[in-house]
């Protein structure tokens, strides 16, 4: 087992999950409560990574991060190097790829909170923000746990996007799933098996957490 790769993958998954919690909660809030008529467009965009081949997603992310895109050029002038084939680039690609796995359970659980509780909170003088923090979030715990566990597990095991965006640079962008592929290519079946077992165990543990926390939410997900 390549521990450098293991810790890099862990670091990536934890970081991506943290970013997803930070941006996923506001997006999910908006999806759950907005009455905008074109909301379905945003929902469709968020859900795209579920159905899109990782290579397609990775390809476009790479284009967006590369030195020919405005974003890539801006990043280059600020930091002096490109985003493509860096750990930061990998984080950005993974966040986009795992977005629906965080946003959908979040939004589903926010929408399940009884609107009467929100009305009661307002009549008791609470602002929308306070209502969200003190009523909606605590009552959405199962959905939050589901979103966090799924994002973490999904990022741990991703392959296509990582390969497209990050390349395969040891210690920088090489993750466990790519490591397995390398070992397999080199007929190193024992090592591949060992790494694969670790990923299997982590995924199984994450799903146990999800199902154990709330079965009801799972039935609503991902196409509620």
């Amino acid at each position: 087992m390549d521990w450098q790769t293991f810790w890099l993958t862990m670091r990536l998954a934890v970081l991506v999950t943290a970013v997803l919690v930070m941006i996923g909660i506001p997006i999910a809030y908006w999806i759950a409560y907005s009455r905008w008529r074109w909301k379905f467009l945003a929902e469709a965009i968020v859900a795209l990574p579920i159905v899109l081949p990782p290579t397609v997603l990775g390809f476009y992310v790479l284009l967006a991060l590369g030195s020919h895109s405005p974003l890539g050029r801006w990043w280059q002038t600020v930091t002096g190097h490109t985003l493509a084939f860096t750990f930061t680039g990998l984080v950005i690609g993974s966040v986009i790829y795992s977005l629906p796995f965080a946003v959908q359970p979040f939004a589903a659980s926010f929408a399940l909170v009884d609107p009467k509780l929100l009305a009661a909170s307002a009549t008791l003088g609470a602002s929308k923000l306070r209502t969200f923090v003190q009523v909606v979030l605590p009552l959405s715990m199962p959905g939050l746990v589901t979103g966090v566990a799924l994002s973490f597990a999904h990022t741990m095991g991703e392959f296509g996007v990582v390969l497209m965006v990050g390349g395969n640079i040891p210690g920088v962008t090489r993750t466990l799933s790519i490591d397995i592929y390398d070992q397999f290519e080199a007929f190193n079946f024992a090592a591949a098996n060992q790494t694969a077992l670790v990923l299997l165990a982590i995924s199984f543990a994450a799903l146990c957490l999800v199902y154990g926390t709330n079965r009801k939410l799972w039935t609503l997900w991902p196409w509620k």
């Binding site: 509780l117 009661a120 009549t123 609470a126 602002s127």
Partner: protein, 380 residues
């Protein structure tokens, strides 16, 4: 720097104000459009908002609370303007400071009793908060469940928690949307007593929505009758519920006969009371209620609950057997409505077969038979 005591005193020194509302709101419906169009003033004390379901009761409350926005009108409590379409004022819900107890209570399931009650208390020091919570827990007799969550306490206790949570913020208006629908009469009347005691000190307008006729007489000082989004009657329960000519009222009341009476004796041991119908010598035995001997009451009797006999029946368990004379008979579909004069006029419903078998005519001498428990006592 204020002490806790001063904070508590300052908060309880509410000046009582009336609620004035003039509201129109159109609700587009799938099968029919509904328009709420009302104009009313509610003084401090309990006012019942009565109406069939779909009459617009909840919509009206939501407009008061700001949860629904009227198309036009003006809502104010004392000098505080909540809504004014002319001046484009719409005070946000959190700034209105009203108590709203929802039909399903809407207690926060993840918070304890104390947590629910503390929710609306912000901007207060911890000790001041604790003081207020202790006081309201005490006055609504729920101190023993302060650490428990809504799912772990009884329906009556949940009801009290919801009331306490709405009242602890010292609201200038209390809205109750059929809050007691699920409770038994005993628990209900106890809670209402506590609410009355609370309001003796605070004197705020309380708008109590119900479609239960019994509740109207049990607790209202005033009644507003809503039908199809419009106010069709308002006044004291007695005046509104006994006012003639209004079909709806009779329907809502469900009592074709409502008579004024005086309690002349209470039989605690037997659970009954003797009442004399006002302006007559007719005496009725009724169930015991908490009313002092000599006090005025209203007795409601459904026309279908009265039996008619052409001779004085013997060996009957019913306690009220009253002689009278048929005034008129009127056939309504398959029911015959008989008006009988027995000192007061009573309406009795019979089947067609019963009328034919008894050969009733105007002028026939009859006996009215009413079971004790068919007499529903109400405060006028």
């Amino acid at each position: 720097m204020q002490t806790d005591e001063q904070i508590v005193i300052a908060r309880t020194k509410a000046i009582s104000h009336s609620l004035c509302g003039r509201v129109t709101k159109r609700l587009p419906g799938t099968d029919r459009e509904f328009t709420l169009d009302v104009d009313f003033t509610i003084s401090p004390g309990i006012t019942i908002l009565l109406g069939a379901s779909g009459a617009g009761k909840t919509t009206l409350l939501d407009c008061m609370a700001g949860l629904a926005i009227p198309d036009s009108g003006r809502i104010e409590v004392g000098k505080r303007v909540f809504f004014d379409s002319d001046r484009r004022i719409n005070l946000p819900v959190p700034d209105r400071r009203i108590g709203y107890v929802f039909q399903d209570l809407a207690l926060f399931p993840h918070l304890t009793t104390a947590g629910n009650i503390a929710y609306g208390l912000t901007g207060l020091e911890r000790s001041g908060q604790r003081h207020l919570i202790d006081a309201i827990l005490e006055s609504f007799r729920i101190s023993h469940v302060r650490g428990r969550k809504p799912g772990e306490i009884s329906g009556g206790e949940r009801q009290r928690v919801a009331l306490a949570r709405a009242l602890v913020i010292d609201p200038c208006l209390l809205l109750l949307d059929e809050p007691m629908a699920a409770l038994d009469a005993r628990t209900k009347s106890k809670i209402i007593d506590d609410l009355r005691v609370w309001n003796r000190e605070h004197r705020i307008p309380i708008l109590y929505v119900t479609h239960s006729r019994e509740e109207v007489f049990a607790l209202g000082e005033r009644v507003i009758l809503l039908e199809n989004g419009r106010i069709i009657a308002q006044g004291t329960p007695h005046a509104v519920m006994t006012a003639p000519r209004q079909e709806t009222i009779a329907q809502l009341a469900g009592f074709e006969n409502i008579v004024e009476a005086v309690a002349i004796a209470a039989h605690e041991d037997r659970g009954t009371m003797t009442c004399r119908i006002g302006g007559s010598s007719v005496v009725l035995e009724t169930p015991l209620v908490r009313a002092e001997v000599g006090s005025a009451l209203c007795i409601g009797i459904r026309a279908g609950d009265i039996l008619l006999a052409t001779s004085r029946p013997q060996g009957l368990s019913a306690r009220n057997i009253i002689p009278g004379r048929v005034v008129s008979l009127e056939q309504r579909d398959v029911i015959v409505s008989v008006r009988v004069d027995c000192g007061v006029e009573m309406e009795v419903h019979l089947t067609l077969a019963a009328r034919d078998a008894l050969q009733l005519q105007p002028g026939s001498e009859v006996w009215l038979i009413v079971k004790t428990h068919s007499c529903h006592l109400m405060t006028c």
